[in-house]
Amino acid sequence: MRAQATLNNWRPWPALSLVLAILIGAGAAQAVHAALQIEITSGVRDPIPIAVVPFAAAAGAGGGLDVAGVVQHDLEGSGRFKALPRERQPASPTRAEAINAADWKGAGSDYVVVGRVAALENGTMAVDFDLVNTLTGVRLATQRFTGPPGALRNAAHRVSDAVYQKILGVRGAFATRIAYVSVDGAPPAQHYQLIVADADGENPHLILDSRFPIMSPAWSPDGQWLAYVSFESKLSGVYVQLVRTGERRLVSARAGINGAPAWSPDGRKLALTLGGSSGNPDIYVLDLTSQSLTRLTDDPAIDTEAEWAPDGRSLYFTSDRAGSPQIYQVSASGGHPRRITFEGNYNARPRVSADGTELAMVTLDGGNYRIAVQDLATGAVRSLSHGRLDESPSFAPNGATLIYSQREGGRGSLATISVDGLTGLRLKAQQGVICDPAWGPFGT
């Protein structure tokens, strides 16, 4: 059990490819994916200058991973930091005591991160880091992360999270994962893959491989499971799959639509869209333990894309009951839905920030499908993205950033944008289209 807890902490992927090979056939054996490429598309005007000094690694420790390089990449990718290039670093300290703050201040860095990677006697690794403010000389943070050698990259992201939080006051979301769908090949021979990767697009792992569409991945609140829709039987089915082992279960393959799974905040229920054979998509709630199914909406219109409020007491969903798709809220115990969006004639696919204050959605804005955010208290809407066919917004667990899919020049890629609209990234696959991203929860 203790070993399990450690594994959960660092989320390595033991034997995943083996289980997948059994589960989905020989295709999984050749599951070698290139990581996504990141471009920064926008950043703040005055990013915080920081230096991340290469970490010391004892012989045999670290397996060649450049921990400081990962941290620097994370921080710069956030659009909030600008890193001092290594060749301009005035020294190579690996401990806070060895930092001469004046030298680093002189080199233009307000902060310095130093650290060490060590192999512990029990076979695990330890990553230690110190964060120093060069203007005051004060050490702001010192922290150790431990785990198995295969999870060193995750430890590096945890360093990034801690640095981000110390300096900006908001928990970083670098040590989180994303799920997304990759589509390759020309019609009618498309090839669909469900992939889980680190939030920076690195460390991609194949979850499911199919000749038929896969869509709508949704993370369980504990980050252990993914629910998704697969058409591998040629009809729709909703599955839940244990990410670490690949074990999965088909939870709904009823007549008509089985779609848009969303986990309740306690992880015990799935909201689903079920259409039935005569075609009336409504929102249902499936209790995963008892299998009991409760109908939540009953309207001849399309009701779909359910999203639980963080307190679990209500759900948001898309409905065209008023003629065009708009977002509604309904109590988790049913009843009459309340309309939430009023601006424009296309607002769909609601996602709520973890603190429950903001609603992200796809909105039609002057002929372009864009990502917008509505303040749930005031109703004020602001458009965030700038594409033509942007869709599938998903909040980072810290609520500071959204990931979504976009299509430019025929290529489908993922993009992130901060909720203040100031910083953005694009994550591109080396081939094919990637879409339908879902940002996972914080690790425990």
Partner: protein
Amino acid sequence: MAHQQRMYRLATLLVLAATLAVGACGPKAPKPSSAAPTESNPGASSEGANAANAAGGSLGSQEEIGGPQAGLLATRIVYFDFDSAVIKGQGVDVVAAHAKYLSANSQQRVRLEGNTDERGSREYNIGLGDRRAQAVRRALLLQGVSEGQITTVSYGEERPADPGHDEAAWAKNRRVEIVYLTPAGQPMTKP
């Protein structure tokens, strides 16, 4: 911590169920009675209380065959206008030809696959594609085809026929495909 233990217990259950479920979605899956929710039967299928039931579905084999090719029957695609599920123009004649054939061959089954163009939200587009498949289904039913001959699926924007990103491509993607399946009661044959 209590929550975590509950999740482990749930995990154990799911692992056990997974064996059943994965087995049940293979081609030899049994056909449990319909668990589909319908307007007249809200909240149906709470009796479908195990994974194998949920997995099996009620829709039988989806094995495709070539089907009839004479005249309009060779046309298997019905196209739609933007934001519309109204069967128009040649589509009316195509649906009528298939209705005539299917009502005369009551063992013959089809799958109606609804599709949309790529614009807008993915799951909402599943709803729009379903609306198109249902329009064709209703037209077939009105012209004498029986319910048991038809299954529907919506792929939304997920299976474009044309990978382009302009109006010409979108017009080809807003469609319902009529796919002939192995007739009821016949053994499946590999194409």
